[in-house]
Symmetry: C2
Amino acid sequence: MFFGKKKWDPQGKHCYVTGGSTGLGLALSILLATKGAHVTIVARTENKLQAALKEIEAARQYPEQQFRYHSFALDTADASAQAIQAECDANGGRAPDAFFLCAGSARPSFFIEETEATMLNGMESAYWIQAWSALAATKKLVQQKQKGNIVFVGSVVSFMSFIGYSSYSPGKHALKGLAETLRSELLLYGIDVHIFFPPTMKTPGYEIEMQTKPAVQKKIEETDDGITPEQGAAAIIKGVEKGQHQIAADLITNLFRSSSRGSAPMNHLFLDQIYDIITWIATPIWRRGVDKSILAHRKEHEEYLTKQGFFSKST
Amino acid sequence: MFFGKKKWDPQGKHCYVTGGSTGLGLALSILLATKGAHVTIVARTENKLQAALKEIEAARQYPEQQFRYHSFALDTADASAQAIQAECDANGGRAPDAFFLCAGSARPSFFIEETEATMLNGMESAYWIQAWSALAATKKLVQQKQKGNIVFVGSVVSFMSFIGYSSYSPGKHALKGLAETLRSELLLYGIDVHIFFPPTMKTPGYEIEMQTKPAVQKKIEETDDGITPEQGAAAIIKGVEKGQHQIAADLITNLFRSSSRGSAPMNHLFLDQIYDIITWIATPIWRRGVDKSILAHRKEHEEYLTKQGFFSKST
């Protein structure tokens, strides 16, 4: 590592990318293709997959490079296992070398407007959609006695959270917990586990997220410029190449990562300590500002709830 | 706070305790009764609730003190709302002042032996069983324009994780994420949110947990003596009295809490920094030891899987 030796190289590897037809998954698939990997994308909608495959094809490096797609919903364990089986079948029975689990979405809302269905949906799109693929991938790799890499996509709200993320942040926290468990447990099989924590990322999913995001939450996030899907994809590959368990792409995420270490290995011995020390001062200042915005929003929020008829309906 | 002023006092408060018939929930209910609170316990099994109520009754401080139970399964949003409604009905329509969400359980296992059903069950007993009560409690308190306290029970594996906890740690991480979201969001309504992170606790639930715990995981945890439910209950009350958001009862949890701060407020300005600095050295040493134990277990584990027929069955 001190001499820049890569722990992983995409060249010639079979890479399986969920959510590969759009946003971060597509940017990552294109970058993997550029770096000489075989790329298989999995998503729900066939025409989006076809369009994405054309973009990946444009990044082809050599004639033998394989690009394919499989159309599957990944919201159950069975469907996720079937998608991986379809890929194995297409590749002479062999499992992919690396699984990049980019599928997922968020739907911010006030907690008191959540229902059983919206909370369950939140957990499904933030957590299960990746957990099921990880479960099927692990079983397949172990059964074939094959090593490999599993890469989750969390969020900066895997480490921390605030107003509006009650259906999303728990799932992204769960993903950090799963990744940390598996980093430890899959040592048994030589499977390396990584998790990328993007900040705000300007993807098609982000546009949908903005439609339900409460105004007070938008105000708190307004200074957050975020990163592009291409920057996110580059960060993932760099992190996996370096063998990092937790991967971050920007300063804010590195600050929260370094001050929310759990039992995860760190990335830079000294830099991470500096990040950690900064947060001792920066996080309380940030939190007080956010708390103040929320308290200032009380009256407007009560008027909003009254207008929605919240106080007159039965719970 | 500098002069020891309590931010919360159980005396005369209506306290609603889920999982109150056994373990931590029962110990907490007894302690709340001793401190002059009205106590309502909620759990599934009627005869356990009756037996628990007798123990709580023995802690009575004054004749008007109210003790009751309601028998409900709390694994759906509807049932959790019905349980809270039953308590409101029994108290002239008024919602409880404080909700202590102690219901939950763990079932450790190797990840590759998990199924869709066991993973979903894990999330239900680690997360949803508390999240549904929190959702119903919040709606009820806001609708009645009543302030209050919501207290979750997480785990040390809300902050970190290792082998064996793939169905449990994600749910406990999720609970930390929900608590942190709600600490921020429920400022809108004057509802205070707390979360207690117990280490190993010698409860009836712990005995059940030990039945499925893999040997390698038991070995890693063998030096962990844990705390009693009474110590856990005392820590919760002390933490809520002090107005702490994150509550810990022992050194190990304080170490992981202080080095996994997210955006949560800290408890002690200087002590938490010392804990954090200790973990820069202690956590990597601990993790390397655990990783070594796991690697040393590889051969035995492969023999175990072979014996279970894992390599010959279809995934």
